[in-house]
Amino acid sequence: MRLMVVDDSLLVREGLIALLAARGHEVVGVAENPTAVPALVRASTPDVVLVDIKMPPTYTDEGLRLAAGIRSRHPGIGVLVLSQYVVGSYAALLLAHAPGGVGYLLKDNVLRPDVLETAMSRIAAGGTFVDPVLVAHMVTADSSLAVLTDRERAVLRLMAEGLSDRGIAERLSVSLHTVYTHVQHVFTKLELPSTSSDNRRVRAVVAYLAARQG
């Protein structure tokens, strides 16, 4: 996969480049702050851009804004935001600006090749990825989910992570029809508006969880 790394920490940046290269990816661009990124993206057309959430100059929402900017100009290029924050609102904010083609990955999980690969390939295909650790954190913290059965809660988590109905069915080893029924129940019980697109579904679920988390 053709990748680009944007991170202001030299340590993480160089480590990531070495790691990604070692796993057979091609790093086509590197930047340490958001300013140079738009031109680099245009020139090197990567499949996915890995962006640190906090970057200069203000270290607030530069990463999220950069992600939204890249997605709006290059619908074919995915953006994976690397974050050290287990905070649902950041993920919700990211999805609110760009449903589809974006992902929120906790930095620790960069070290887990399977998670990183899943995230990058799903995003490259236009899907959505939300770190399972963050989703688990949000679901555990949310008392309103007591209305759901265990199975429904599992489906909710996988929905929030960005899995499609088929992906959920495979993960839980159940039929597609069963997943469909669970999803309907979840939306009805949480009073969420039902939606046809997978990406919009992730956005709705993450926004719900983030809002409940406060």
Binding site: S9, L11, V12, L111
Partner: protein, 590 residues
């Protein structure tokens, strides 16, 4: 600044005024006897007019005396006495008996003196005092002109020229008409000049007066001004001829003058009575306060004393606060205002800044002060509590802010430091799985690990050093000094007790902030820290030999002050430029 204590006793009636009043009464009796026994030229109407005039002044003088306006009463009664003494002289006593001639000789000097006394009264109204140099000069000049005129009248009394049957002064000399006219003109011109000066003086005073004073001055000043202006006109145009230059008859002018001259004492009387009425408002104030409607004491006092500009300040801590507890500068008197202390002059319970004119009514101020004493004390306590509450609120907000900032800094330090390093180590280990023999990857991982450990240790010490909990304040400060290097020295000390954890923490972090502050700002060669266990307090002194001039309100030390205040501790800073700084921290330790 004066105090209510000085004003407490109602003073006795002014002695000089009483003597003047007595003298006037005696003179009036003599007047009546003379008019009954000696024939005179003037018609009864004119006698009545003069009598009315004298009585009006005496009445005002008595009222002023009764209201304990001693000086003003003296000026008025002095004028009354002269008016009464001159009474007989102004009617043209007839005949050549020794009695009328003696009276004419004696009273000839009094008419000019009357004018000078009137100028003096007008210039010193309403206090009776002359405080400005210009006013003093005008009055001195008036007495000088009156002296000259008196001498002139003694030798060339006007009635001697206009009336053959009139009694002659023993000192009378015949003066040629031309000389008489010339001298009269010169003296007249001098009076015109003096009247003009008086008008200028009054106008200037009125302009400088505060709102309350203006209200009191308006009517008397207007009547004085009209009387002075008419007197000036009469002096110039009317004296030598029977009619004025504008064809107004002498009679009309004299009538106008009489009206103006009667208007002056009447206006004085009205002004005095109006002041007297203020006491009724004090009564109303008392009733209102007793009814519990004294929420806004300042406003109530302002209304009762008729001074909308009145303000009350309460001593709170080192400074002053208004009734809402907001800090205000110490009230200072200026051109228009005076500051009166309520309570002990050294430790007043309140300072009232009010219009200058109230100084002339000490009894009124005393009454208002007594009526509101309890309320003022109550208001002062409230202001003090409010001021303390405000300080506590501000301090609490600062502590919360400081805590939030510290948390944010800690979060940043953890995320940017240790976490990034651990991530880098993780990445290095991942790569090592693929390149097991790569020594540089081992080195990198080891280096990151060492740095991460150091950072964590420092971070932990910054949050709460274990040595403080385990071994106490001195050991913790010793460790801090060791960490900061040779420039910081913990000096010898006796044994120091252990205190509660929050007090030790407050003392430790305040001291460490003071030390850091000194190192950062003062550029010292040495910072000495001493810890002393004194009775029920622990005293930490941080002294440096740096630049000095430290500011206790600088944000670094405000945080320290707040932190100490949260455990009832105190912070004092002694810092003169070029003499280094000594910061003393004290915390209670039971």
């Amino acid at each position: 600044m004066t105090s209510f204590a000085d004003r407490l006793a109602r003073p006795p009636l002014d002695r000089a005024s009483l003597i003047l009043l007595g003298a006037t009464a005696v003179v009036l009796v003599v007047d009546a006897w003379v008019l009954a026994t000696v024939p005179y030229l003037a018609p009864p109407g004119s006698v009545l007019r003069e009598a009315l005039f004298a009585v009006a002044w005496i009445a005002v003088g008595v009222v002023a005396m009764w209201l304990r306006r001693g000086l003003l009463a003296r000026r008025i009664l002095a004028l009354s006495l002269v008016l009464a003494a001159d009474f007989v002289g102004s009617f043209g006593l007839l005949g050549s008996d020794p009695m009328p001639r003696l009276l004419v000789t004696l009273t000839a000097t009094l008419i000019p003196l009357q004018t000078a006394l009137a100028v003096h009264l007008g210039a010193s109204y309403p206090t009776g005092r002359l405080l400005d140099p210009f006013g003093r000069r005008v009055v001195v000049a008036a007495y000088a002109v009156a002296g000259v005129e008196a001498v002139w009248w003694t030798f060339a009394h006007v009635s001697a020229r206009t009336c053959d049957a009139c009694a002659r002064s023993y000192l009378h000399v015949v003066v040629p008409e031309s000389v008489h006219r010339a001298v009269s003109l010169v003296i007249g011109a001098a009076w015109v000049g003096l009247c003009a000066c008086l008008l200028i003086l009054l106008w200037g005073r009125y302009r400088r007066a505060g709102r309350r004073e203006r209200r009191l001055l308006r009517l008397p000043y207007a009547s004085i001004a009209v009387a002075a202006a008419l007197y000036a006109v009469l002096s110039v145009v009317a004296a030598p001829r029977g009619t004025s230059a504008w064809g107004v008859s002498m009679t009309t002018l004299i009538a106008l003058q009489v009206v103006a001259l009667v208007a002056v004492p009447l206006s004085f009387l009205v002004a005095l009575l109006r002041e007297r009425l203020a006491y009724r408002r004090i009564g109303e104030l008392v009733v209102k306060l007793a009814g519990g409607a004294g929420a806004d004491l300042e406003r109530s006092l302002a209304i009762a004393l008729g001074d909308p500009t009145l303000t009350v300040a309460f001593p709170v801590g080192d400074g002053f606060a208004d009734s809402r507890g907001r800090p205000v500068p110490r009230p200072e008197p200026d051109d228009r205002t005076t500051v009166t202390a309520v309570g002990e002059p050294e430790m007043p319970m309140a300072l009232i800044r009010h219009d200058r004119s109230l100084d002339e009514e000490p009894a009124l101020l005393t009454a208002a002060g007594s009526a509101t004493r309890l309320m003022l004390e109550n208001a002062r306590l409230q202001a003090e509590v409010r001021a303390q509450l405000r300080e506590v609120r501000e301090s609490r907000a600062r502590i919360v802010n400081a805590t939030n900032e510290a948390r944010a800094r800690l979060e940043r330090d953890l995320h940017d430091g240790a976490q990034q390093r651990l991530l880098a180590i993780g990445i290095a280990l991942q790569l090592l799985r693929q390149r097991p023999g790569d020594a540089s990857l081992f080195d990198a991982a080891e280096g990151e690990l060492t740095s991460a450990l150091t950072e964590m240790r420092e971070l932990a010490a910054g949050i709460h050093p274990a040595v403080l909990t385990d071994l106490g304040l001195v050991a913790a400060l010793d460790a801090l000094a060791a960490r900061l290097g040779a420039r910081v020295v913990l000096e010898a000390h006796g044994p120091v007790r252990r205190c509660s954890p929050e007090i030790e923490a407050a003392a430790y972090f305040s001291a460490s902030e003071a030390i850091t502050n000194a190192l950062k700002h003062a550029a010292p060669t040495l910072v000495r820290v001493s810890v002393i266990d004194r009775d029920d307090r622990i005293v930490i002194e941080v002294s440096d030999d740096g630049a000095g001039g430290a500011d206790g309100d600088g944000s670094g030390l405000v945080g320290v002050r707040d932190r100490l205040a949260s455990v009832d501790g105190t912070l004092t800073i002694d810092s003169r430029r070029d003499h280094g700084t000594v910061v003393t921290l004290e915390v209670p330790c039971a």
